[in-house]
């Protein structure tokens, strides 16, 4: 059932049951070199080709230094690419950013200490000039979505790490972007909280019908969440394999105990190992 994928110049990637509508994110021969063109210090991304379809949940996984966070930042136009083309909703990454077409969640919650929880969620709405009453309604709705209603008037320091990260997700979704970029959002959480957050994220993903690009270095997390797992390898950062995850949704704790789940975890692990071997050559 696996559709193998090797990095070639062909940018068409395999899709599962998704319609071949215009991709939300399209990466064509994306390269990112740190340092100058004459004296490149690191090839962070090499010939990245990837199309992400609407409503997909894509995980980028790989060893540290493989450029997965760099790739995420390139999609969000938080970092310029050295060569190639990044399109988001058929627009350049910059236009998409200027049009506020994606929400971003970082590894740290990045909440503003001086704002209450509700005001943190309202931050993007405030910047976009949404009227006050509407902002309050929205933030209440979003906090309900992440199951934090009642915490509107708390300050960030009064919440646990997992709760803070949920606030960050509520903030990213507050203006209803169709694309959610997540950079190891649960990396700092303990295993139990992380698994709970995984289940919650899937529920939110299905309720909000967004497309998610998710950076992680946890194999089970990637398998549990994704429609496809993109395996990357380091130096130079490139895609070595794309593994479709055919576990049925909705997924739950039981999903983690099925043999198919273990098979897919093994497949991702082998993909990562293959990347290591390619590097050694």
């Amino acid at each position: 059932m696996f559709i193998g994928w090797m990095p070639t110049t062909d940018h068409k990637s395999p899709t599962l049951n998704f319609s071949m509508a215009n991709p939300v994110v399209s990466l064509k021969n994306v390269n990112k070199i740190f340092g100058t063109a004459e004296k490149p210090t690191t090839v962070a991304l090499k010939d990245i080709n990837l199309d992400i379809q609407p409503r997909e949940f894509i995980s980028l996984i790989g060893p540290s230094g493989c450029g997965k966070s760099t790739l995420l930042r390139a999609i969000g136009d938080l970092l310029p690419v050295s060569a190639g083309e990044v399109t988001v909703n058929d627009k350049s990454a910059r236009e998409a950013r200027m049009g506020r077409e994606y929400g971003m969640v970082f590894q740290a919650p990045v909440l503003f200490e001086w704002r209450t929880i509700a005001k943190n969620v309202e931050l993007p709405l405030e910047i976009m000039g949404v009227p006050k009453a509407e902002r309050a309604t929205k933030s209440r709705e979003m906090l309900k979505l992440v199951e934090l209603h009642g915490f509107e008037r708390h300050y960030p320091w009064q919440l646990s790490g997992g709760m803070q990260q949920r606030v960050a997700i509520a903030r990213a979704l507050a203006f209803r972007p169709q694309l959610l970029l997540m950079d190891e959002p649960f990396g700092a959480l303990d295993e139990i909280t992380r698994e709970r957050m995984n289940a919650e994220l899937l529920r939110i993903w299905q309720e909000t019908q967004t497309t998610v690009v998710f950076v992680t270095h946890s194999i089970p997390e990637a398998v549990f969440l994704s429609t496809r797992v993109v395996v990357m390898s380091a130096r130079p950062g490139r895609i070595t394999e794309i593994i479709p995850i055919d576990l049925p949704y909705p997924r739950s704790v039981e999903t983690r105990e099925t043999s198919r789940f273990f098979d897919l975890v093994t497949a991702v692990r082998e993909g990562l190992r293959k990347g290591e071997k390619m590097r050694e050559k």
Partner: protein, 257 residues
């Protein structure tokens, strides 16, 4: 529960304070220490009661110089910081200089200020206080405006915000704790600056000149009484700033608990 923990918090320093005063009184009496070396607390308190109205009017005059200088120095420092936070080049040129000047004993300039503005003109004291408070404020504010978590700036960039929004919603709130830190430092510095500035000469009814004059006349109990008022002045000013801080940035004060 809150009140009992509060009492627990204030009780030890209060006991130490009372103990020190009692010991002081006891030693002065037991060892027969002459009044010009160290007057007993009771003698100082007596002197204070006698000279209270004169000392208080002098203190108010001195405090006025301190306050005006404080307001000028702090607002100028904050404004310069705002300007330099925007231009990296200006900041990189100015900051090392500011830090260097900040370690200079600015009080040494007091005679120069007397020469420029006139010894009995309060402007000479105000100038000293403004100079003394300018640099701590500027240095702290520059730090507050620039030491921002990079991810916060990245987040703002993802929202395609204006520079103004970054300033208003990230840099300025981020700088508030630094601002109050500087205000606390400057509140005590301003009283020191005004009183010591007056030691170099000033109008008759000011705290510094009064202390100097009473000391010269060997009325040390009067000098001590005025010193206590100067100390109280600094403490009260500091407490006012702390209260303002609690009101202005509750998220920070409570964070420290």
């Amino acid at each position: 529960m809150a009140s009992s923990s509060r009492a627990q918090q204030f009780l030890p320093p209060a006991l130490v304070f009372i103990g020190v005063i009692a010991l002081w009184e006891l030693l002065v009496r037991a060892l027969n220490i002459p009044q010009f070396l160290l007057p007993a607390p009771s003698a100082i308190l007596g002197a204070l009661a006698e000279t209270f109205s004169l000392v208080m009017s002098s203190a108010l005059y001195t405090f006025r110089s301190a306050l005006i200088g404080f307001l000028i120095g702090c607002s100028a420092g904050a404004l310069v910081a705002l300007a330099t936070a925007r231009w990296t080049a200006a900041r990189e040129g100015l900051m090392p200089l500011a830090i260097a000047i900040n370690s200079v004993p600015i009080l040494a300039f007091a005679p120069i200020m007397n020469n420029w503005f006139g010894t009995v003109n309060p402007a000479s004291k105000i100038a000293i206080v403004a100079l003394i408070t300018f640099f701590p404020m500027m240095i702290n504010m520059v730090r507050g405006l620039t030491l921002v978590e990079p991810a916060k700036l990245e987040l703002m960039r993802s929202y395609a915000t204006t520079e103004f929004d970054v300033l208003a919603k990230v840099r300025l709130p981020n700088a508030l704790p630094y601002l109050f830190n500087a205000l606390k430092i400057c509140s005590t510095l301003s009283v020191i600056g005004a009183v010591v500035g007056e030691y170099f000469g000033g109008p008759r009814d000011t705290l510094g000149v009064y202390i100097l004059q009473e000391a010269k006349l060997f009325r040390f109990d009067n000098a001590w009484a005025a010193i206590i008022i100067a100390a109280l002045l600094g403490i009260v000013f500091y407490l006012i700033i702390i209260t303002l801080e609690r009101i202005a940035i509750p998220w920070h004060a409570s964070n420290e608990k």
